[in-house]
């Protein structure tokens, strides 16, 4: 049973047109750069992408928008992308906006085998339309369903041959959640090590959730908003 793939092209080879994908990352932080590049090269079309954001015009999921590979985005915030806006207004792209915590928890639900969860987010707003509302202890909650994604594409800092993953700083974000939620989960890592090199106490995603893993390359890790203090 070997989970190690040579590269992104091999790992994503069987992602077909029309697939439902999850892509980890928050903004451009912790996104599966290699998988996105490989999907652009492969040209897979009509994708549904579950991702907190949609990248920027020339990076991240924005690259797949440029090539019109995305049919639908399910996101919480999509504000940094002119091509996205153009496709949305022209009706080429379908968008479902959902609260960020709902997005995260629907991933958790999938990874934990819970068919639905309750959250107060969106009660009394247009997000609640068509959803079951339920009162617990005097407070209203919406029932939201677990995601059902064909593939999850995640990016980790380190990974081992058993599929165990470790994330760095806030590049963790949605990655471990989506890693648990995909029917098939593909992990790209900055550093792939043999089994036994990672401390079992400090694994963020146990290998049981990971089906394919590969050593990524050429990471750009673009910073979206560089904010710094002046050195005195």
């Amino acid at each position: 049973m070997n989970k190690i793939y040579a590269n992104a092209e091999e790992a994503i080879k069987d992602i077909e047109d029309g697939a439902v994908l999850m892509l980890g990352g928050f903004g451009l932080c912790g996104i599966p750069e290699n998988c996105i590049t490989a999907l652009v090269k492969k040209g897979t079309k009509n994708l549904t992408c579950i991702s907190n954001n949609a990248g920027v015009d020339d990076f991240g999921i924005g690259l797949m928008l440029q090539t019109r590979q995305v049919k639908k985005m399910i996101s919480s915030y999509v504000g940094e992308n002119a091509e996205f806006e153009r496709q949305l207004l022209s009706g080429e792209l379908e968008v479902e906006l959902i609260p960020q915590g709902t997005l995260a928890t629907r991933c958790l639900a999938a990874g934990y085998g819970m068919p639905a969860i309750f959250t107060p987010a969106g009660v009394g707003t247009e997000v609640a339309i068509g959803k079951e509302t339920r009162n617990f202890n005097g407070k209203d909650y919406l029932m939201e369903y677990a995601f059902d994604a064909d593939f999850a594409l995640v990016k980790a800092w380190k990974g081992d041959a058993a599929g165990n993953l470790i994330f760095k700083d806030t590049a963790r974000n949605f990655n471990p959640l989506m890693a648990m939620a995909g029917k098939i989960t593909i992990a790209e890592v900055e550093e792939l090590v043999p089994s036994g090199e990672l401390d079992p106490n400090f694994i963020h995603t146990p290998g049981i959730y990971i089906h394919r893993i590969f050593q990524g390359s050429g990471y750009e890790k673009r910073i979206e908003q560089k904010t710094v203090r002046k050195r005195l």
Partner: protein
């Protein structure tokens, strides 16, 4: 009348020792600069960080360490990193004591609208709906009137809602107001320096409760 930093400074007085606080984008972010000396406050960033510190020194920024506004940040001693489900888990479980965020409109029963303007490109609600639906204590930092000079404190929100009956306090360039329970309206607590009660009344469209003398705020 307060400028943005003045609003942030006044709100910062509401932050108590031991609080875990989530700051929204814009004026709320500025509050971090005015946290009173001698109190211990931990900033939560909903992308998965507790113990957020100031922006990094030039050259020390990391693409792997950003806040929910996607800005490069730092971590203070005692920080922790977690995934987005735990982040919103602790928000829903009300472990975060105070949420400070901006708004386009607030209604007299505490409804808030801050994510969508019909006819304009919708960017999304991000974590705002989770935060306002969960937080026990929500302070809104905003201008009292919009660019057209219309009051943003309304009987009912006209824009699509972000959350209902959730805002507890509002600080604008003109005033500090509590949102009274059960649709009781906006209670005027403090005037900004040089601002008259008459001006606040004129610029508040929702029900305003003015009870006795209204002191000028100390900041």
């Amino acid at each position: 009348m307060l400028d943005k930093n003045g609003i942030a400074k006044r709100i910062a007085k509401e932050i108590k020792d031991g609080y875990y606080v989530n700051l929204g984008i814009g004026i709320p972010t500025l509050c971090a600069n005015y946290i009173p000396d001698g109190i211990n406050v931990v900033l939560q960033s909903e992308n998965g960080l507790l113990g957020m510190g100031p922006f990094p020194l030039e050259g020390e920024e990391s693409p792997d360490l950003i806040n929910a506004g996607k800005q490069t940040v730092t971590m203070l001693p005692g920080s922790s990193i977690f995934d987005s489900a735990m982040s919103f888990g602790m928000i829903r479980a009300q472990k975060v004591h105070l949420t400070i965020l901006g708004a386009m409109e607030v209604s007299e029963n505490g409804d808030i609208a801050n994510w969508k303007i019909p006819g304009k490109m919708v960017k999304g609600m991000g974590g705002a709906m989770d935060l306002v639906a969960s937080a026990k204590n929500i302070i809104v930092a905003m201008q009292h009137v919009n660019r057209e000079g219309e009051s943003k404190l309304l009987p009912q929100c006209e824009l699509p809602l972000t959350g209902i009956r959730c805002v507890k306090k509002i600080v604008t360039e003109l005033a500090v107001l509590d949102v009274l329970p059960n649709g009781g309206g906006f209670k005027l607590l403090e005037r900004a320096p040089g601002v008259s009660v008459a001006e606040i009344i004129a610029k508040t469209k929702g029900k305003l409760v003015v009870d006795g003398d209204v002191p000028e705020m100390e900041i």
